[in-house]
Every structure is written in structure tokens, then in C-alpha cells.
Point group: none
Chain length 121, copies 2
Amino acid sequence: MYINFNYICFMNSNSMLKGSIQTIILKLLAHQEKMYGYEISQKVKEITNGQIILKEGALYPALHKLEADGFLETYTEVFENRVRKYYSLTKEGKKETALKLSDAKDFIANLQLLLNLKIAD
Amino acid sequence: MYINFNYICFMNSNSMLKGSIQTIILKLLAHQEKMYGYEISQKVKEITNGQIILKEGALYPALHKLEADGFLETYTEVFENRVRKYYSLTKEGKKETALKLSDAKDFIANLQLLLNLKIAD
DNA sequence: TTTATATACATAGTTTTATTATGTATATAA
DNA sequence: TTATATACATAATAAAACTATGTATATAAA
């Protein structure tokens, strides 16, 4: 019988569950009270000068999951004959945003430690 | 029989790690001529103070893929009755390392742009 | 002396997540 | 009339990591 106790009670940025899309969405909504999906995709494109594109096939399922998990709430609005579905953070969503941001920053710091190693001369 | 208690304190996987494992491996091998799998996993753990754990189920398949893609070459050595499989960068692997590092740094920069937005007062 | 930990590799099966491709619908510019 | 932009949605697929095993040796702890 083999029991592996290696990781019990070690703090670990592996707890950073989802990819960064959820974190990005949550952070944008922490910055701006309410946004609709297309607006989020455009904002990401704008901020990153077109270098990060949140594709619809990733964006909408991510929004639906965040809503299903209770982190986002929605209402729809019609603007110039087009439906917009606005998302905003719930109370739980605000907690989750702080957690995910903290994890993301830890992860980035660790990744930089790993990737900035000096190459031997 | 094998009982794995890995998930007692963190139930989640590290999804931001998704996509960066290959880059991390390549960078470590750019820094240190040759390394074997277990050594790589320990090095990552050491550099990140145990905060990033390259699990075997991710590490070994990643090494095999990098080798299959022609970026790594290997030889085995027996040390104290245990087999070690050493990996090192091929010429193509060195080019790939530079590419992946550049991409990773761009991504980190963009992610920081997105995540460091000021929250409205 | 049995159990646990560490070293060292491997992989089948599953889950998660993003991409690709497609669909609906309206408005406007070419 | 076509292409592009706005606005949402999702099925099918692919990629990547995780879960949970397996093999094997050596040593420390109970």
C-alpha cells in the first residue's frame, strides 16, 4: 500500500483553477460595474492592442459558467434593436475576483522566476 | 494498492500552468545543458518555493511531446541502480525556446495590463 | 520489519478549457 | 449585394493537464 502525503497542507498557486479568461472577466467587471459580452471582448482587445483576443467560443461559455457558479448576475437590455446581456459581480463574485487575482499574481511571479533564469555564458 | 491524498488541501488544478509547462522545461534546459525528468520537477519546486508543482502526469507527457517534435534529445544513464533519462535541447529546440519565451513574455505583459486595472474608488 | 518517503520513469482514462465552425439576427458601409 | 460590425449562442473537436494507477530501488521512520 502506497500513501502519498506529499502535498498535504502546502500552499500552492496550483489552486489557480481555471485559465486566465475567468480572471480577466472578473477583473474587468471589478473595474467597470456592468459590461456585456461583446463589450468585454472589445475591451480586452483594446487594452492589449489586439494581442489577446477573447473569442466568442471561449468568452460566452466562460460567462455562463461564472454565472452558473454564482459569481455573476445578469439582465438584458435592448439597444438599437440589439439585445445586450449585461453581467455584474455578485457579492460572491467580488470575493472570487480577489482570490483569482491573488492567485494569478502569484502564478505570474513564479513564472517569471522560472523564465528569467540567466542562460550560462 | 495506492491511495493518493494529494487533494486534501487543494482540490484544484493549476490551469494557468496549461500552456506554460513546455516553455518552463525548455527554459530550464537552456539554462542547464542536460536534465532528467525528476530533476526538472524538483528544480521547478525549488525555484518557486513549492508553489508550482510539475506533476508527473503533466511532466512526462510534455517531455515526450517535446522529444517527438524534435526539440529535445535523450540518453539514459544508470545512477545508484536507478535509471535516469537525460534530456537536452536540439538545435531546433533552441530556436523553439526563444520563440516560446518571447511569446510567454508578451502574454505575461498583456495579462498584467489586464489585471492591474485600477478599481474605481 | 512493516510502513512511509524519496527517487525515477511511464501511461490509460478522464476532465477541463479553448478553438473551430456554425447558427440566429440587426445595422451600416462598400 | 456583399462585407463588416454588433450581439448572442453552442455543438464538435482538439489540446493540455489531472487523476489514478503501474513498475522499481533505496533509505528512514514507526
